[in-house]
Every structure is written in C-alpha cells, then in structure tokens.
C-alpha cells in the first residue's frame, strides 16, 4: 500500500515535471535564432510559406503551443523536420533500443568491474592489487570518456586491430563504446564498494561469522557484500543519469544511431519536434530510473522509508 502511494505521488510529480520541461523547452527552442526550415540554400518565399503551413509554423505561437501540447499528451510528436521520411515516434522507436543496449552493457561493465575490484581491494587492503585498482579507479573517474575513447581506439582498433573503429551492427562494435561509457562509473563503484566493504568487515557480526567457521569466501560474498551494497545502490541513480548523458558524446564518436545522436543532431539542426520528443523521453526515463532506484533501496535496507 505504501509502495502504491509512493508510486502514485511520483507519477504526479513526473507529469508536472514533464509539463514544465515541455513548456520551457518549447519557448526556448523558438527563441534561439535559426529554424527548421533554414538550409544552405535559401527557400523561395512561396515554398517557405507552404512548408510553414505544413508544419503549422505560421500559426500564432500560443496556438502552436497548445496544438503541440495536446499532440504530446496523445504521445504523437509529429513528423521530424529534418528526416522527412519519418515521424518522431519512429525515430525514437529506432533509437531507444540502441541506446538502451549501449547503456545496459555500460552499466553491466561498471557494476561487474567496479564491484569486483572494490571487493578485492577491501579484502586485500594495502596490497599491490588495492593500490593499482584504486589508481585505475581514480584514472577512470578523472579521464573524460571521449579522451578514453580516443585512447582505446588507438590501442584496440589500430594497434591490436581487435575491434572495428565505429559503427553499429555486430557485437564487436558495441564493446568499446560500452566500456568507455561504463569506465568512470566503474571507478566510482569500485571506491564505494571498497569503503563500504571495509566498514562492514570491521563489524562484530563478521567476526561472529568467521568464528562460526564459515569460509572467507562465504563471509565476504554473503555477509559482507550485502552490507557494502547500500552506497552502491544509492549511487545507481546518479550513475544512470550519467550513463544517459555520457552516451550522448560516445554515440557521436562511435557513430551509434541511438537517442543521443538524434538528440544532438535535432538540437543543431533545429528539428523542433524531434528535439522535443527526445528531451521528454529523457525526462521520463530519468524519473522512472530514479524511482526504481529508490524502490530498490527500500528493499535492500528496510530502515529506509518511502516518501
């Protein structure tokens, strides 16, 4: 019951947020100079007038706002300005799974690499492993993902010739970008896991577990890790947000036709409808992800109350 109330409230807030994002970006977009109908070749007045009528750009701005808002409520974002063969919904439908694949794989990299090295560092505290993992983690956090991408392309694409340079179409093309995407978060997760783990390992119940004669592996993985997970889970919210925005840059470097590419191009080309569609999708996505993280948090730690 408590969960339902929580979800219901969150949903209400989401609607309000989406509406505000819609309104602000609707007017901001139209404030910047340039428009979707501008191109290198200038349109003749007759053609421009026809196109403005086709896209309802000749209507008063308030009328445009309400028409667009109503269409958005019905989940119809209209046709894309710059990719005339597609509606915005079609573009998003093609782009979303691609970004999702990249994001999920990046997240999996971040969690597996981060947690493993964190646990090892904590258990082998002050060892060579600990120092080198933590150095790598710091590097991972400090190096921006596009720099990392450039370095990895030089090493893995040109020197070792293990992966293709860019593109989308088979498994080998997803590994490098997903790794670059996950790397900074792997760094954070490693440090969080290590700290959490160290704290937990000093507790009395861990000593009790050892005293009962459990193997070190069981103690660390079963009793230790569970307690150490909390900070990691609470970090997942910002991490997911970071993965979403991080993929904007990486999708461009690795030529991945996901939401990020569409969003950036839409903004540059003043593709009003597509930019709006992508923006609102991102808003909803972030909201949903944060809600899920809060839910997970309350499941792992019963002390946390949902509000």
């Amino acid at each position: 019951m408590q969960v339902l109330t929580f979800l219901f409230k969150r949903f209400g807030w989401m609607i309000i947020t989406v509406w505000i994002v819609f309104t602000v970006s609707f007017f901001l977009m139209r404030q910047i100079p340039g428009g979707p109908l501008n191109g290198e070749r200038v349109l003749s007045e007759a053609v421009r007038a026809r196109l403005e009528a086709r896209y309802n750009l000749d209507a008063p701005i308030s009328e445009q706002y309400f028409t667009h808002l109503w269409n958005t409520v019905r989940l119809d974002f209209g046709p894309s300005f710059k990719m005339q063969d597609f509606t915005v919904n079609e573009v998003l439908a093609q782009g979303f799974p691609v970004s999702a694949a990249l994001g999920i794989l990046g997240m999996v990299f971040a969690i597996t690499i981060g947690m493993t090295s964190g646990v090892v560092s904590a258990v082998r505290r002050n060892s060579v492993y600990d120092y080198s993992f933590m150095l790598l983690a710091t590097l991972g956090i400090a190096i921006p993902n596009f720099v990392l991408a450039a370095m990895l392309i030089v090493i893995f694409v040109f020197n070792l010739q293990m992966f293709p340079a860019a593109g989308w179409g088979d498994i080998s093309q997803i590994i490098l970008p997903a790794f670059c995407l996950g790397a900074p978060f792997a760094g954070y997760i490693a440090r969080l896991t290590r700290t959490g783990m160290l704290e937990v390992l000093g507790n009395d119940y861990i000593r009790t577990a050892y005293a009962k004669g459990l193997s070190p592996r069981t103690v660390v993985l079963k009793h230790g890790l569970r307690g150490a997970l909390l900070p990691v889970v609470s970090y997942l919210g910002p991490a997911i947000a970071g993965i979403l925005t991080g993929s904007l840059v990486l999708e461009r470097i690795f030529v991945i036709p996901g939401m990020g590419s569409h969003f950036i191009e839409a903004a540059i080309q003043r593709d009003y409808t597509l930019a709006m569609g992508a923006l609102l999708t991102y808003t909803v996505l972030l909201f949903v992800m944060n809600t899920l993280v809060d839910l997970a948090y309350s499941i792992i730690d019963p002390r946390v109350k949902l509000e």
Binding site: G39, E40, R41, R50, D85, P97, P164, P257, I268
Partner: protein, 640 residues
C-alpha cells in the same frame, strides 16, 4: 544479474546486420529519399541509385588535362532516345519499352507526367521546383500565379484519404472568370520576376470559375480558406461586383490547369516537354534527381511519407531499398527488374551516415569502408601521397559574400580593394592544402565552351590605390570590418589569414565572428553581417547555376547587391538559343559581377575521395558524381 545478462543478449542481438558487399560513407543522414522533396549531394547519391530519370549524367569521353572525365546527360536511362525541335523548345523523350518498376509495372510517360505534376504541385513545396519553371506555364501552376481568363483546375475537399495529398479529391476543370482579392495593402503579394520566388496570390482570395460541362455552363465561387475565415467573410461583405458569392464553397486548391502546362504524355512511351525558351542545359536538369519519377500507386496507397519505407518503396533505379536504420545506414540491394540489371555489378551496398570525418577515415583505414567521401582537411597533405586518394577540381567555389548595403562596403572600390589584398595562393598552399585552385572568378573553369570572368590577381599596390580612390588612404577612416563564418576550424583559419592580409596590406582592422550553423544561416538571411564565408556547388555543368544566384533579390543572393543590367543579361541568356552567344552573355555578366564584387571568390574546391583499390569504375570528374551502378569490385584487389 540474470536479468542484466538477458538484457545484454537481447541488446546485442538487436543490432546485428553483417556489412554489405560495398560500403561507403555518405557523410550524413539523408533528409528524405523522395526525389521531389530532396536537396543536397548525399540525397542525390541515394536517389540516383533508387530511381532513374529520363536521362542520366554519366562520365563520358576523354579525360581533360587534369584527368577529369566530362559528364554528359545521356539517354542511358528511362529514355532510350530523345529529339529536340529545331527551335530548341520542344523535347520529345522516348521511354524504353523494357523500363520497369521494381514491382514489375511498366514505367510509362504517364508516370513521368504525373510525377512532374506532383513535383510542381504547390502542396509538395519542392525546394527545387524552379528547375522545371523552364517548361511552359509550369511556374503558373507551381506558384498559383493566376489571372482572369486562365484555365484552372479546382480540387474539391473530398480526398479519399483524409490528410493525404494523393489520391487527389475530385478535380474539375474550367476557366477563371474573376479573381477577388483583398485590397493590395493587406495581401503580401510579391513577384520578383525571376522565377525563383513570388508567393503567387494571397490565400485570402475568392475564385469565380466557369465550368463548361456538356453544353451546360455553370459558374461557381471557391475559396481555399475555410468559410469561417474572417478575411474571407470580410471579402464577401465588401464585394460589390457582378458575381453571386452566396454559394461560396471551400475547396483544397484552385490551380492553373496542369493540362495547359507544357508537360505531356503523348502515348505510353512518348513524353513531350514544351519549354518557354530554348534551354541548352535542359537535358542536365532532366538528368538531375528531383525530376526522377515516383510510383503513383504505391504512393497513393501508403501516403506521402510511408511510401519511402523499405518493403513499400517501388523504384525504377538499379538498386532497391532493403533496410533503413536512422542515422546508421541504408542497405541497398540490386534491383533485378532494372532494365540494365545485367550490367549492374554490385549486389548489395551499405550507405552509411557518419558525420565525423575522423571516424569515417578511421573506418576506411580499418577496412570497414570502401569509399570515404569526406576525408578530414587537416590530413589531406598526408593522404595526398596515397594511391587511393582520388581528387580533382570540380564545380564548386569557396567565396565570401559582401553585404553591399553596409558602408563602407557599399562602395565597389572598397570591395575590389579587399579582393585584391587577399593572398589566395597562400590560403590554398598553407591552409586548405588539398590541391585547391585560387579563384580569380566565380564560375569554376572547365565548363564546356565557357571562359570565366576575372577579378584580378593578388596586387597590394593596386588594392591600396583603389582604397585611396575610395577615400580611405592607407585604411584611414575605415571602420572595423567583421568576417562572419560558421564554426569550423578550417573556416576560422582562412578568416584569420584574410584578417592578417587586410590589416597588413590595407591597414584595415578586422574582427572575426563565428556562429553555429543554424544561427549563421539565419544571420546571413536577414543580412546582419558585413563579410561572410560561403560556398556553392553547381547543380549542373552550366554557368547559369552559379550566375543566376545574384539577380536582384534572388533567394540565394543575400548580398543586397542589385544591378538591373545583370538581371536583364541573365534573363536574356535564358532565351538565347545560340550556345556561343549565350556563353558570351554569361561571360559579360560574370565580368560585371567581378567588377562590382559583391562576392570575393577565394578558391575552387577539389573533390576529395578515398577509394579502396579493389573498386573499379570510379572516375574523377567535373561534377564529382560516381553512380553506384557503374562501380564494380575486383576480387583480386588489395585491402588497404
């Protein structure tokens, strides 16, 4: 963890698509593959593969001294021959008997007449529609340029599919008895008289049309606005003429009757086009992709946007669209129904949409691409040494526009001085470095029978003299001149060299302003600049594609420059049937342009292509066109 694993497997499987036999980078996602609505070079590469016009521009003949093969529009396409009347105004195309659409239907003259009607139709709003304004009455149809007495077609509001342009509603043909428009100050009517613009007549108009159906004459009044429209109601109220407006009805369109436009199917295989005047480069236009036909039935069935989707698209070109992934690739496969299919060698082609020039080059060097259409400028000096670098000057010019309405730039002497004070050779040698040619004219050299104009060499003394003559000895009294460019390193580097040249040679202070592309275009359009970077790629191999830009108020003029002699000359060239005299007129006009200098040519572009040595049939040419159906792969060829 299990869920994550499952998600990864799902995610990875989703995108799997092995590469095609031939892969090239098209540089950007195409805006559309609908010939009537497309503009741009990348779109052209795809549309020329999916569709085919009456003629095709193909490399033909002996290479010139720069190794460039001329391109010629030839009847090696849907038409297998064509005749031109003696006065050069009537073209009759014979469509080959074995021309087929990819679904097996025959390609007929009726398909062309219908497609060209759609291309010109105002609702299609084709950006290139002026290319067909050479056909008789075509501009009247496209621009709704109606006058009393004209034959008209009225499309009723009964379209079979609501919100879809085709199939059209019932079309009735009659003649326009009266055109009732609001008083002049309300209607923003405009006609620049050059076939480029002119918004026709105001939307708030009432058309009184007489129909002559089977011995019975009826007269009806129509408007394209809704009947509740305030403007229309006011118009009805204030009307004091002889016609009865009480039965006014609202319709989709009232247009110039297309049956009176010079575009006709004489029979299933004879297609006739009547022009306003002899237009020697009309075959070039016919070969240009906006005039490629589309398949009427599939368009009517699926609608204006859906008909371009894989699985629904019906084409008549050498390739078919198999799959399309937005901002990733178009997968083309050979079209077995194509009339010349046995000579199409490539079985499948991937057209990639990679914007990053570096990434694209990486992929080329890594063997993922066979053809890179846009290697990065900074690496050209290195790439130039390689055998797989194919480069040659082509029909494109990098130039600066000068806003002739902003003092002191309204003085032609100042503009000339600025031109002569630029060391173009240095720009070419040390900035762009790809073998570009310093421009002393606007029209690139190499066009058949045309001798370009001339705007003078780099001459500091002369430039100083001109500036002194204009009243600014040693640059004294000149305000700071601002150079506008769109954000890109290469444009900035060139602007910096020019900034130094002007400062050093003329004593002129120069500031630089860079704007992001969208903003840049807008700024240029409203004329809020002094000097601005520009570029132009010729659509066809005729000086007209360059020179008709600068007629007074031409949409692409943007310099506020206006010269009535120039306007008349360009217009006269349209009607000149003698090619030698015509070129002479163009030359004289270009010289006028160079003397008054509303533009400063900097250099002529070169085409830049990286082509894997296993690709055969790739010829350097003047228009940088490389039709996919002429390429083949040498299986013995080496990987880079």
């Amino acid at each position: 963890m299990f869920i994550a694993g499952f998600a990864v497997v799902w995610a990875v499987n989703l995108g799997t698509l092995p590469p095609a036999e031939f892969v090239f980078n098209n540089g950007t996602e195409v805006k559309t593959i609908d010939p009537a609505k497309a503009t741009g070079v990348p779109e052209g590469r795809v549309i020329n593969a999916l569709y085919e016009g009456l003629l095709r521009s193909v490399p033909d003949g002996e290479p010139d001294e720069l190794g460039r093969t001329p391109t010629k529009p030839k009847p090696v396409a849907m038409a297998d021959s064509y005749q031109v009347s003696d006065d050069g105004t009537v073209y009759t195309f014979h469509i080959r008997e074995d021309a087929k659409w990819s679904n097996g239907d025959s390609v007929t003259a009726i398909d062309f007449a219908w497609s060209w009607m759609r291309f010109l139709h105002p609702e299609t709003a084709s950006e290139y529609n002026y290319q067909l304004f050479y056909a008789k009455n075509a501009s009247k149809f496209a621009l709704v340029d109606l006058h009393e007495g004209d034959p008209v077609e009225v499309e009723m509001k009964d379209r079979p599919v609501a919100g879809q342009m085709f199939p059209r509603g019932t079309v009735r043909r009659g003649s326009l008895l009266a055109l009732i428009q609001p008083p002049a100050e309300d209607s923003h009517t405009q006609d620049d008289g050059h076939g480029h613009g002119g918004s026709g007549i105001s939307g708030t108009s009432i058309f009184v049309v007489e129909f002559d159906d089977e011995s019975e004459k009826t007269i009806q009044a129509f408007t394209t606005q809704s009947l509740d429209d305030e403007g229309i109601q006011a118009l009805v109220k204030s009307y004091q003429g002889m016609h009865d407006l009480s039965e006014l009805s609202s319709v989709e369109h009232v247009l110039f009757d297309f049956q009176h436009v010079g575009i006709k199917a004489l029979s299933t295989h004879e297609f006739e086009v009547t022009l306003n005047s002899p237009t020697p480069y009309f075959p070039e236009l016919v070969a240009f992709y906006p005039l490629h036909p589309v398949h009427r039935l599939s368009l009517e069935e699926h609608g204006d946007r859906e008909f371009t989707k894989p699985g629904k698209i019906v084409g008549n070109g050498p390739f078919l669209l198999k799959e399309r992934r937005i901002r990733d690739r178009l997968r083309l496969v050979k079209n077995e129904m194509y009339w010349n299919a046995p000579n199409v060698k490539l079985k499948s082609v991937d057209v990639l949409a990679i914007q990053s020039e570096t990434t694209s080059l990486n992929m080329y060097l890594n063997g993922q691409l066979d053809w890179d259409t846009k290697p990065p400028n900074t690496l050209i000096p290195l790439l130039k040494e390689r055998d797989d670098f194919v480069s040659t000057p082509f029909l494109a010019c990098y130039f600066y526009r000068v806003n002739t309405s902003k003092p002191p730039l309204d003085n032609p002497l100042v503009r000339k001085a600025l031109n002569m004070a630029i060391d173009k050779q240095t720009i070419v040698d040390s900035i762009v470095k790809g073998g570009q040619v310093p421009a002393r004219s606007f029209v690139p050299p190499g066009m058949n029978g045309y001798q370009s104009g001339y705007c003078g060499e780099y001459d500091v003394e002369q430039a100083k003299r001109l500036l002194a003559e204009a009243g600014y000895p040693n640059g004294k009294g000149l305000p700071t001149i601002e150079i506008l460019y769109n954000t890109a390193d290469s444009h900035r580097d060139i602007a910096e060299v020019i900034q130094q040249d002007w400062k050093k040679n003329l004593g002129v202070d120069v500031s630089l302003r860079n704007l992001e592309w969208g903003t840049f275009l807008d700024t240029l359009r409203v004329g809020d600049y002094m000097v601005s970077r520009s570029g132009w790629i010729g659509d066809y191999a005729d000086p007209n594609t360059f020179l008709d830009m600068f007629v007074t108020d031409g949409p692409n003029n943007q310099t506020k420059w206006s010269n009535s002699l120039y306007d008349e000359g360009i217009e006269k060239a349209k009607y000149e049937s003698d090619p030698v005299r015509r070129m002479a007129i163009f030359k004289e006009m270009e010289q006028t342009l160079m003397d008054e200098q509303p533009i400063i040519p900097i250099y002529f572009y070169v085409s830049l292509n990286m082509v894997n040595s296993r690709v055969k049939g790739f010829t350097a040419n003047l228009q940088d066109v490389h039709p996919l159906h002429l390429l083949s792969l040498d299986s013995e060829g080496a990987e880079p």
